[in-house]
Structure formats: C-alpha cells, structure tokens
C-alpha cells in the first residue's frame, strides 16, 4: 500500500506540532459528536471517573452502615438499594467499560498504527448509548431504585415492587454499548493493523482487548435476552422463571451467569493486558513468555464460557452439573496462573524503576495473586458449600476486581496520561496515592476473608453483636476511609497536572510500542503516514537505549 512506497527512514523526536487532537477543533459539540477515537476515549474516561466516584461513595455508605450493629446511618430498605446500586454502577458503568472503552479506545488504534478504529461512527454511537444507559440507571435510582442485588435473581426480582423493569432496560441498553465496542475492536484488530504488525508483534494489551472483545460480542447478547425475559416476566407474566407459573427459577441463574461469568473476564482481561505493558516498560525488559501470555488471554476468553455453573453450586442445580463446572473452573485457573508467574519472571534481570504506574502494577501483582488463589476455595465443591454467599466471596471478588482491574486501570491511566494530555503529573504524589490505596485496600478487604470463612453472610444489613463479626467490620470500614484518602490524592494530583504539569515528551517512559511514536498529545489522525513495523513491541535494546518504537520507519515529519 501507500505506506510501502513511503521512504522516510529518519525518525525524529521533538518538533511538536502545535495542532493536536485536543485543540484541533473547539466547542462542546466538537467533542460530543466527534468520531476521533482519542476524544471518545477521553469522554469515556471522564464519565467513568464520575461513575467510579459514585460507586465509591455508595461503598463508603455501605461500610459506614456496617460499622455498628443495628441501624447506623440508614434503614434496611435504603441499605438494600445502596448495595444493589453499588454493584450495578461498579459492574456495568465502571469496570466493564473502564479499561476497554476508555483506555483501549484511546490507545489501541495508536498501538496498531491505525488512524482510527474500523467504525468511528459506531464508536461514537457506543458512547452515546453508554451515556443513555447511565442516565437511565441514575433515573431509576431517583425513582425508587431496586433492591435485588446486581444479579436480579428470580422470583424475587420478578415479584417485588420496585423499578426492576427500568433498571434491567438500563443494563440492556448498556449491553448494546458493550457489544458495539467489542465488535469494533475485533474488526479493528483484524483489519486495521499497520504494515508489518503481525499477530506476534501485537502488544499484549491489544491481545487482551481482542480476547475481551470476543467475550463482549459472544456473551452480551445473552444478557440482553435474559433481561428482556425478566422484563417480560414482570410486564406480561410469561412465567418461564416463575415456579408459581410452572417455570424454573434456576434457569434464570443459568441465563444470567452465561453472560455474567464471562463478563468477569471482560473485567479482568484488559487489566491483565495493561499489566503486561507496565511490567515490561518499567523493567525495560522483554516480556517473559509473550506467546504464553497472548494465548492464555484467548484461552481464558474461551474457557470462561464453560464455568458459569460455579456460581450455582448451592442453587439446587444437579450434582453432576456441579462436578463438571467445578472441574472446568480449575482449568481456567491455569492460564491466569501462567500470566502471574510470567509477569514476575519478567522482572528478573531487568532495570526496574518504581515510577507510579509500576507501583500500581506491583499492587496488581500482589492483590490479584491473593484474589486468584482464594478463588481455589470457591472452585472446590467441598469448601464452596461453606463459603458460598459469605463475605469470603465478597473479599475474593474485590481482590480480583478492585485489586486487579481497578489497580490496572489506575496504573494504565498514569501510564498513558502524558500521552493523552501531554502533561506530567507530580510523581511523588502519584506514588503516595498508589501506596495509600494499596494499604487501604488490604485493610478494607482482608478482614472480610476472615469473617466470611467464619460464616458472615453477604448482603446483610445487620449482624448480631455477639457473633464476633463486629471487629472485622470496623477494621474494614476504617480501611475504606484510607482508600478514600488515596483516591483523593490521586484525583487532585491528576487534575492539577492538567494545569500545572510539565510538558511531556512523546515517549517519557522510553516504551517500545507504537503509541509512543506519535507526539504527546497525538495529532488529529494519529500518524501522518502509517508506520511500517519491523520488530516486536517489547524489544528493549540491551546495548543502546535509543531506537524508535517497534523499529517503525515513518512518523511525524
């Protein structure tokens, strides 16, 4: 193609152009109706920060309520709505779109050496749908909210008197956003790669996004039909899930978890992708076992469809189904384990700098290891019976979701912040925030393992003073305040950097993938000429420290 005939081997750093994607056009409309993937990524980023803050405050409220037995700050009805909303907001509004739609949208086309995603208008539509879904969810909350838990189990959800239909429709709409993002990414990764960008030269973040997108496309429609059936159950009284009408309530759980278990990997896989980028860049070393990490992403994506029944070990599903699901669950543990050990091994003989993104990455490594290992208890039938629906599960998935994905999200945000805005943040404050969050996280969630395995059920508004759970709840609540402190430091630091931050160079971390080839912030269409890639994304030179990312031949003039 045209790029083949391009002869511009000289790669030059510096010489920033004054026009970039941020100041190329002005006005609110130029943002709301942009089809530039970078702008859409930023809009996602800020919306998602907002939803994360909302979900976070709900979590603080939950923790505060549990500080003492009995009523502390709210009654049971309010509590049930708050914890439900916390789950819904964090799952559907923060963590599922978090890394793919915000960071992925911004970075992925740059990493591929493409000028945009394959369907820019669809990308914008996907953002608009996300906003509509978010507004619907918030409206539902103001209109009375729902108290079903984010899982909407029937027949409770199909019989109680609350805004279930509206909330399911909100999740239904959000599902479309997720499907379109996934679809766009799959096509982009297949069709839009720069010359020379073969599958084994793809950055691992792109591999992870690819695996994620497969799940988004394959699983989300089932969530759609599940929620539709639930709504029909309420509106028309269809009865498929209602035993009083001849249906089977356990069937709803099959439907729900067919999506929602793979969705767990929609949440964690992109985080793993970010990890691979951070660990290599900050140890300045080639990743250990590139192929194993890339393929394990795909393996996780596929196996994730086979294990949903481990959410249903005590639901009354058959013992045979339990056995099969338990077995398959252990298979999915293996690829995750491979990733962890490979990241750890990548550090070996590297040149490690503990910049803020790396601190987040190391937090991920530790916390995700704990989260993953405690999953073994829940995959084994014998122990799961005892631990199911207790705080042990709550702690486990927070270690994976928050200790994993959220840490990766913040790490990635710090990593690409200079690329996004062309500004550096205060490094000390950023590290301080990361360490504070790490400490606060453990103080919050580790006690929950102990009280969980000692029998404290989840989704409880109240507990008995004599049960001995109170001290754990109190430690946990104090931990949530430390977490809040860390988050505040991070937010202040990042936002003040937009104004006062130092100018960032095009490649402040001396990383090796293509997004660092273009200037910071990038020009409007990413690259003037599509670069030609000649080597992998992690070829950190041993002899000398300078080279263009992926040996690319062309870039900004």
């Amino acid at each position: 193609m045209s790029s083949n005939t391009q002869a511009n081997p000289e790669y030059q750093l510096g010489e920033k152009e004054s026009t970039n994607y941020i100041n190329a056009s002005k006005g609110l409309m130029s943002w709301l109706f942009t089809i530039d993937h970078k702008r859409i990524g930023l809009m996602y980023l800020f919306t998602i920060m907002g939803t994360f803050a909302l979900g976070g405050f709900l979590a603080l409220a939950v923790r505060l309520e549990l500080f003492t037995p009995g009523q502390t700050i709210m009654g049971p009805d309010a509590y049930n709505r708050v914890f439900t909303l916390h789950g819904l907001v964090m799952v559907f509004l923060f963590i599922i779109p978090g890394i793919p739609a915000a960071l992925g949208n911004f970075v992925m086309p740059l990493m591929l050496g493409a000028k945009d995603v394959a369907f820019p208008k669809l990308n914008l539509a996907s953002f608009h749908i996300y906003v509509i879904g978010t507004v619907m969810a918030l409206y539902t909350t103001l209109d009375g909210g729902v108290d079903t838990g984010w899982t909407f189990y029937t027949p409770y959800s199909s019989t109680i008197d609350s805004q279930v239909v509206m909330m399911t429709m909100s999740a239904f709409v959000l599902g479309f956003s997720s499907i379109f993002t996934g679809l766009n990414f799959v096509v982009t990764i297949h069709k839009m790669r720069a010359p020379g960008m073969t599958w084994d030269r793809l950055p691992l973040f792109v591999w992870a996004l690819y695996a994620t997108a497969i799940i988004q496309v394959m699983a989300t429609p089932v969530l759609g039909i599940t929620l539709l059936l639930l709504a029909m159950e309420r509106v028309m009284g269809i009865g498929i899930f209602d035993p009083a009408l001849g249906g089977d309530p356990v069937l709803f759980q099959h439907f729900f978890w067919f999506y929602s278990h793979p969705a767990v990997y929609i949440m964690i896989l992109p985080g793993m992708g970010v990890m691979s980028e951070l660990i290599t860049t900050f140890s300045r070393k080639r990743i250990f076992g590139y192929r194993a990490i890339a393929l394990s992403s795909i393996a996780i994506a596929v196996i994730s469809f086979l294990v949903w029944g481990h959410h249903m070990f005590v639901s009354g599903q058959s013992a045979y189904a339990g056995m099969v699901f338990s077995f398959l669950t252990f298979l999915v543990a293996i690829p995750s384990g491979i990733k962890i050990i490979n990241w750890s091994t990548t550090l070996y003989k590297g040149a490690i700098s503990l910049d803020a993104p790396m601190v987040w990455a190391l937090s991920f490594l530790i916390l995700f290891t704990i989260g993953g290992l405690t999953g073994i208890f829940l995959g084994a039938l014998g122990t799961d019976i005892h631990l199911h629906d207790t705080y042990f599960v709550v702690a486990h998935f927070h270690y994976v979701m928050m200790g994993g994905t959220a840490m990766a999200f913040f790490g990635g945000m710090h990593y690409w912040w200079p690329k996004m805005f062309g500004k550096m943040y205060n490094e000390f404050a950023a590290r301080l925030a990361a360490w504070t969050v790490f400490v606060g996280f453990n103080v919050t969630f580790f006690p929950q393992f102990i009280m969980g395995s000692r029998g404290m059920p989840r989704r409880y508004y109240d507990y008995l003073p004599e049960s001995g759970y109170q001290i754990f709840h109190q430690i946990s609540t104090v931990g949530s305040w430390i977490l809040l402190l860390g988050m505040l430091i991070m937010a202040v630091n990042l936002f003040s950097s937009l104004k006062n931050g130092k100018e960032a160079s095009s490649n402040p971390w001396e990383a090796r993938s293509l997004e660092w080839l273009t200037q910071s912030p990038p020009i409007e269409h990413n690259f003037h000429e599509i670069p030609t890639v000649v080597e992998g994304p992690y070829e950190f030179p041993i002899a000398t420290a300078t080279a263009t990312p992926q040996g690319a031949e062309s870039s900004d003039p």
């Binding site: 297949h190 790669r193 394959m218 029944g309 009354g316 058959s318 045979y320 189904a321 699901f325």
Partner: protein, 174 residues
Amino acid sequence: MSQHDTHHDDHGGHHVTPLWLYHLIFGGLLCLTVITVWIAQFDFGPANTVIAMFVATIKASLVALFFMHLLHDERLNALTFGFGLLFVCLFFLFPLVDIGTRTYIDPIKDNASILKQEKIVKAQEVHAKKHKKALGNLSNLYNRSFMNVAEDEAEAKPVPAATTEPVEGDSTAK
C-alpha cells in the same frame, strides 16, 4: 499488503455465484420445506425433533453457504459465524445437563416429578373414590384426535344453568 491476513484478490465478495446455482438452491429449499411438513405427519416419538432439526439444519446450511456466500467468502467470516454457533451449543448444553441430571445423585428423586406426582396422586385419590365410572369413560376418548373433537361437538352443547359450587364463588368473590 501481505500483512493483512484477509486480502486476496479472488476473495472478499468478488466471487459471483452463477444464476443457475441460486435457482437450484431455491428449489432445494422449497423441496426441503415440503419434506419437513410431510414428515411431521408421522410420529417417530422423541426422534421427531431430531429429524425436524436435521432438515432445518440442511436448509440453514444452504442459505448460509450459498445465499450468504460463506462458502466463497473470506474464511474469517465463516469462522466468526461458526464460533458463534459453538457458543450457542454451550448455552444449550449446560442447562440441559443440569436439568437432565438433577435426579442422578440426589437421593430424593426428581424434584419436579415429586411435585407432579403429589398433585396427581392427590387428585387421583379424590377421583377414584367418587367417580369410577367417569374414569372408564376417559378411555373411550383415547383415540379421538384433537382436531376431531373440534367445534361441532362443543358448539352443539347448550350452556346450562350455573350450578352453585366453590369454583364460581371463588372466581367472583373478588
């Protein structure tokens, strides 16, 4: 361009299927539809569904391979579709495994059938006591097909004066 895995000049929608093939496939689909309807008259027991699905799958394959060009299109598209069908199979597989094996280990037997049997046994007891004769009449109807009992018989009956018993009372109380 060689880096783009799917760029081949002879592919990518440039394959034009000859007209006669479209007509042939259309004819085949019509025939298969007739076969499905015809074969549905016979009762093969549980195999009914299997046979119907087999014919439907042939029809669907014809549509997908020729009308939708999967046969000559980029392989990736066929792969995508096949991958989707794989997940559909999984979606069927596990709930059915669950529902089909609920009786296997659980010593209480099939939960659903317990409920059903309770109902049946109870109703049968009441029934057998009071209406032995009526039960005998049931067997007379055994071979009468659903369609045959149709309108004529039902329509012929006059609407009688309402007898007073609990059914009516309950339904109108509200």
